[in-house]
Amino acid sequence: MNFDFTEEQLMIRQAARDFAKKLEADVIERDTNGIYPSHHIREMSELGFMGMLVDPKYGGGGMDNISYVLALEEIAKMDAATAVIMAVHNSLPCYGIETYGTQEQKDKFLPSLVSGEKIGAFLLSEPEAGSDASRQKTLAEDKGDYYLVNGTKNWITSASTGSIYILFAQTNPEKGHEGINALIVEKDTPGISIGPHEDKMGLRSSDTHSVMFTDVKVPKENRIGADGFGFKFAMKLLEGGRIGIAAQALGIAVGAYERSLQYSKERKAFGKVISLHQAIAFKLADMAVKIENARNLVLKAAWLKDNKKPYGLASAMAKQYAADIAMEVTTEAVQIHGGYGYVKEYHVERLMREAKITQIYEGTSEVQKIVISRSILRD
C-alpha cells in the first residue's frame, strides 16, 4: 500500500488549485446570471486541463486518472459548473474517441478537442430515457453510406458551446439496446437545432440544452465501434465518467467543508467562536470523515483505472457515496453558516444547489445502487 502522490501529481493538483482561485472571482456573478465561463475554459485549454488524459501524440497531457481527479476536485471546490464542463469533455468525448474510435476518427477529432478549440458533448439522455437509457427513441436509420438521424436529446451539457457530439441513437429497434449506435456528429451539420438554455437549480454557469435532430445525415465512418456497439459503449464510458463526477462531488463537499471550517473559527456566539461549541465541532468532524471516505473511494477508482483493473464497481461506489455526502456536507455547511449560509456571498448555498445534481446525472444514486448490488450479488 502506498498513499503518497508523485511529485507530478502534486504539481498538477497545485496547478489546478492556483487556477481555481481565478474561478472564485466571478463564480457568483456567473452563477446568478447563467454566464458560461468562456475565458476560464480558454485558459484551462491552454493549461492542458481539457485533454489531460489523452496521449501526447494527439496533443494531450498523457496524465493519469489520479492526476485528473485531483485537478477536478480542486476546480469543483471553487466552481462545479466549470468542473462539469471539464469532466464531460475529458471523460466522455476525449476518452471515448481515444479508446474506441478508429485511427481516422482519432486523427480527425482528438487534436481540436484536446486543444480546447472544440468542446465535446455526450448526447444520451432523452425526454423519456434518463436512467433507462436503453429506451432510445432517437432514430439513426441506416441509409447505406450514412445514417439519417431524427429525434430529441435532453439535458445536454455543453450543447451550445460544444461542437463535437457523441450521439446515441437507435438503428435497429427490434434488437433493443443492441440496436443502438454511437455516432460522432459535428454540431454544424444541417438539421441540428438547439433548444433554449435550461434555467437550472445549480451549475447555472454551464450551458445545458435539449438538441433536436431533423433528417441529419451522419457519415457511416463516424460510427464508433461495430454496428450495435452504442449502448455498451455508453455504459463503458459512464463507468469512467462516474469517477470524474465523483471527483466533482468530492470537490463540492470539500469546498463547503473548508468554508465552514474557516467560518466557524471566526464567527462568535455565546461568547466564543462557534467551533468551540460541540454542536458545530461534531458537524465538522462528521464532514471530515465523510470527505476522507469519499476521497479514498474516488482515488481507488482512479487507481484501478490507471492500473487497467476492473473499476466499474469502484466507480459506482465512489459516485454514489461522494454525491450523497456532497449533499449532506453542503446542507450542514449552510446550517453552520446560519443566515449567512442562506445568502450568495458565502458560497455555501451555491455549493448546496450544485451538490444536488451529482446525485442525479451520470447515473442517479439509485442507479449506482443497482450497479453495486448487482455486482455484489453476482460475485
Partner: protein, 249 residues
C-alpha cells in the same frame, strides 16, 4: 543572451508559523514549499522576454541552493518553462552562503542577465542579490520593476522616491527585481509538467563556505490586545484609561 534566475525555496506564504520547543528554529514539519514569489515573477518575466524577443534569449536557467527537498520547487520552475536547472546541494543557511554557492556555480557560465528577487518571503533578508553581484564583480540594479530588451541593449526601470528611473546597465549584470516585474506568476501547463521530467537538472556539490550569521532566538509577536471603544463625547474616560489602564501617558 542567457538569463539566470536565482530561486529560493520558501514555505507557502499562508503557512502558519510554529517554532520548535526551544524557540531556536522554525518547525518545518508539514510545511508546503513554494518558489519565492519574487523569484517566480522574475522567472515569468524571463520567459516573456524569451517568447517576445525573436531569438534574443537562448536559454533561461534557474538555480537554487538547497537539499534534495528543494527539488519539487526547482522542477516546478522547469514545468513553468525554464530550460534547465542547477541545484547546489547544501542547506541555505544564510545569504552569504547562498551567494557564495551561486557565485561559484555560475562564474564560468557567462550569464548575461542574472535575476534575483528583492527578498525571500521567509526571512526577508534582502541581501543575497547584492552580495552575489559583488562576488561576481558585476554591476547590479536594485528595486527593478520593469525589464526590456532592445536589440543588444537591456533597459530596466527602478523605483525611486516619487517615480521611476530608467537604467541601461552594461552586460552582464544582476537585476534585483520587485513586484511589477511581471503581472502574475505562471501556472505550469500539463505539457510543461510532463516536459519538466526530461529537462536537465544538474546537482552540484557545494564549495567550502561558512554561514556568517546564525539565529539566536525567535519570538512570536505579542497577541493583539482587545480593543476598548470609548464614546467620542467622553474624553475624560479616554484620558483616564490611557493613564491608569494602558499606562502610556
Amino acid at each position: 543572451m542567457k538569463i539566470l534566475i536565482c530561486i529560493s525555496n520558501v514555505p507557502d506564504t499562508t503557512t502558519k508559523i510554529k517554532l520548535t520547543g526551544d524557540n531556536k528554529a522554525v518547525d518545518l514539519a508539514n510545511v508546503q514549499w513554494i518558489i519565492n514569489p519574487w523569484d517566480e515573477l522574475a522567472l515569468t518575466r524571463a520567459l516573456e522576454l524569451k517568447e517576445n524577443t525573436a531569438n534574443a534569449i537562448d536559454k533561461v536557467t534557474v538555480i537554487t541552493v538547497g537539499n534534495a527537498g528543494a527539488e519539487p520547487t526547482i522542477r516546478k520552475a522547469l514545468a513553468i518553462g525554464a530550460d534547465n536547472a542547477i541545484r547546489v546541494n547544501t542547506d541555505p543557511k544564510d545569504a552569504w552562503l547562498v551567494a557564495t554557492q551561486i557565485a561559484n556555480a555560475v562564474k564560468s557560465e557567462n550569464f548575461d542577465i542574472i535575476l534575483c528577487g528583492i527578498e525571500s518571503s521567509d526571512y526577508n533578508g534582502s541581501a543575497m542579490g547584492g552580495m552575489l553581484s559583488e562576488m561576481l564583480d558585476l554591476p547590479s540594479v536594485s528595486s527593478v520593476s520593469k525589464i526590456e530588451i532592445e536589440g543588444a541593449k537591456v533597459k530596466v526601470n527602478r523605483e525611486i522616491a516619487g517615480g521611476f528611473e530608467t537604467v541601461e546597465p552594461s552586460l552582464p549584470f544582476v537585476a534585483i527585481v520587485q513586484k511589477g516585474i511581471a503581472k502574475e506568476p505562471r501556472i505550469p501547463s500539463m505539457r510543461g509538467i510532463m516536459m519538466a521530467r526530461q529537462k536537465p537538472l544538474t546537482v552540484l556539490e557545494p564549495v567550502a563556505a561558512d554561514a556568517l550569521t546564525g539565529f539566536v532566538n525567535y519570538e512570536p509577536p505579542m497577541p493583539k490586545a482587545a480593543c476598548k471603544m470609548v464614546d467620542a463625547d467622553n474624553v475624560a474616560q479616554l484620558v483616564d484609561l490611557l493613564h491608569h489602564e494602558a499606562k502610556i501617558i
